[in-house]
Amino acid sequence: MAFYVVQFLTGLASAASLFLVASGLSIIFGVTRIVNFAHGAFYMLGAYVAFTLTERFAGAFGFWGGIVVAALALAAIGVLVEMVLLRRIYHSPELFQLLATFGLTLMVEDLVVLIWGPDDLVGRRAPGFKGAIDFFGQNIPSYDLFLIVLGPVVLGVLWLLFQRTRWGVLVRAATQDRDMVAALGVNQKWLFTSVFALGVFLAALGGALQIPRDAVNHAMDLRVIVEVFVVVVIGGLGSIIGAFVAAVLVSELNAFGILIFPKISIILVFLVMAVVLIVRPWGLFGKPEAPARRTPGLAVNPWRPLTTNERLAAIAVLIVAAALPFVAGNYLLTVGSEIAIFVIFAVSLHFLMSVGGLASFGHAAYFGLGAYGVALLAKMAGLPMIACLLLGPLLGLMGAAVFGFFAVQLSGVYFAMLTLAFAQIVWSIAFQWVSVTGGDNGILGVWPEKWAASPSHFYWLSLGIAALAVVILRIIVFSPFGFALRATRDSPLRSEAIGINGKRIQWTAFVIAGTVAGLAGALFAYLKGSVFPDNMGISLSVDALVMVLLGGVETVSGAVVGAIVYKALNIWLVSQTDLSKLVLGGFVVLIVVAFPKGIVGTLEAFMHRRRKSSSSASSPLLTSRIESAE
């Protein structure tokens, strides 16, 4: 019995940090409507800076001073980030905001390694809380008791801040209607900045307070952000009490899940989250959001199928690509195969994002499931390659069917967070279920059969499947199903009103996208001859997002170009620098801020303008009349 009580208290202690981080995320979202992906990075930086301050400058600040100064320093950095970056993207579609803050996260990961090195750092114990308390023969660290008290204290302070101060009243008002707050003479800019600073302070404090409990390392940002996303999805974005209750719930589920399912404890959290989402899609303490504002969002030119000339051009490009084996060596062909595979992966996400308006932040899950499907079928069942290629993606299909069902109940940022959480769950299953997946060692020796083994043959196979995938997805875009999907994307209410079952359409799109991604993963497994948990990792999901964004979210198949450019650049970059995440993250931020239409989108806009100006030269009267009629 005593053991369970101690386990419970350990859970409560873990909840404290989780609550701090989650409440910070919630507060920021409430006012700015930005889901700050970089929140985990601030948490991690808080821990690192606190480590340095308590180790090197303990004389100046003492331990507790070090913790507080670290959180304050990060808050100051947060102010800088808000003023330099976020102020430029408050009016961008939410996808861009998520991506920009994600780019920031990537940069921080490399910077942290650069500054503090790649090894785990073990911080010192908190003075006054070094010992443990005996509880019927079980030890409870006294620091845990401190954290257990701290959680509710912070909750209380935040409550007072929001209920009893003018600043709190303004923040709550801005949470509901920020334009009206401005129309009453309040300078929103500083309100946003101060809210962001408070949120970052809480995240950094959460990280700093972890140093006596856990080693500081450069992967703690993603670990915490996934947990925090789960917490805010369960508790409801924007609700501080929700963040508290859900943080306790998730921490306890983790604490006891380890006893029940030692290997896959995260499943338990997932099940609870799924139940909450079915019963209350907006979380336990959240409020239902109005139907999502425009999802893709910039000025969309109407889509049209390719003209005959454009089709011929596309076929010509394909023929040129197919001629590569006659001029290129084996290395280039392998790179070519990889690029073709990523074209398949990118167009599958593009289909979901641009056509379906559903920005998935965990699309790699289905890529990875396809890869594992092939590996398991080939290694365990010993099926031939064709059968594996056909059946392997079915694992992606099944994953997409299950996760997609829950995910499409939500939209916008909730959808993005949920897909990310699902992907992390799939990843941790692959990582933890060693007896089946081989864990970190992966599954090796998945080689193609003779007929596809040579680099040129495999290249042709990949290229052929990529071309097929692009064509099929384009056909779907311009099919009645595609129209229904786009109608649901552009106006859920109106499409519902004309009898379209939006959720089912979106679910179907999710399954299609997951299956195509699975196909890409299946080919990838054969290309590399092995599968690893990283084949479904977060960075792969982000790669796909960047490819889509780089190509142009608002184009029909810009992802093809995005994938080719990005993958080629990436392969080259990784061979050139160790700081690929730093460069990549900077690149993502740059695209979002300076180049939101992507390559194909920018080209299209350019062509559109040229067409417009040349036609206005021929008949100025006509165009001017049309414009004023608009």
Binding site: Q176, A182, L184, G185
Partner: protein
């Protein structure tokens, strides 16, 4: 002049909404902006306080050019705005709603505080702790005016204050607006209801399809039934 608007043009996306709007409001005057639904009344107000991004033209307030200032700065300068949709903060109590509107005192402008406003709108005084979301439409309309007055404005843009209110509440609204005028607040009130406008206004403009097509005293408007019938639905 308290407020002078010149050559105001506004756009929503590619759509041109307002065409060369010109308005003048004198010190302590109540001016009605009359027009049908969709004529451009709300857009005019939103453009004056800087809530329409794509706009051009000049807005002079108390002799200062405020055309390029951000919304909060215009409002802080003493130009209050009461939106048509009321936009009460539903989670906040009556007192908290007023707190959001509170601004420092301004020399030369009428001063308001909570107690004075509760005298002007006695209903609000009886429900100080009630969340805005649990108030009737009339009470919300009073709260939104009171909230703007907390900023001690010298001029208020009042967007369709009588819309959707019962006749009894409309009467209270007339009294409240006249009381505001007596305190020295200049008011521009947009209305579809000529009867209501006549009770409170010194002068009127008529706006139709984004253009001002009449400006004059109420007596001058009454002398032109043709204009009245052509541009106002009665």
């Amino acid at each position: 002049m308290k407020l002078t608007v010149k050559d105001l043009n506004s756009f929503y996306g590619p759509a041109h909404i307002l065409f060369d709007i010109a308005l003048e409001v004198g010190e302590g005057e109540v001016v009605a902006l009359l027009g049908r639904n969709g004529a451009g009344k709300s857009t005019t107000f939103r453009s004056i306080v800087g809530l329409v991004e794509n706009r051009s033209g000049r807005v002079m307030f108390e002799g200062r050019d405020v055309s390029d200032l951000p919304t909060h700065a215009i409002v802080r300068g003493g130009l209050g705005y009461v939106p048509e949709e009321r936009r009460i903060f539903t989670d906040l109590t009556v007192e908290e709603n007023l707190e959001v509107g509170r601004q420092p005192k301004r020399a030369g402008a009428p001063q308001w505080d909570r107690e004075k406003l509760f005298k002007l709108f006695p209903n609000l005084g009886e429900m100080r702790g009630r969340p805005g979301g649990r108030m009737s439409g009339g009470e919300q309309q009073m709260l939104t005016i009171a909230r703007t007055l907390m900023g001690n404005p010298s001029l208020v843009l009042l967007d369709e204050p009588s819309e959707g209110l019962s006749p009894k509440i409309v009467e209270q609204m007339v009294d409240a607006i006249l009381a505001m005028k007596k305190e020295g607040v200049s008011i521009v009130v947009s209305e579809q209801n000529l009867h209501f406008a006549r009770l409170i206004s010194d002068r009127a403009y008529i706006i139709e399809r984004g253009r001002i097509c009449f400006g004059g005293t109420m007596a001058e408007l009454d002398a032109r039934p043709d204009i009245r019938d052509a541009h106002l639905s009665l």
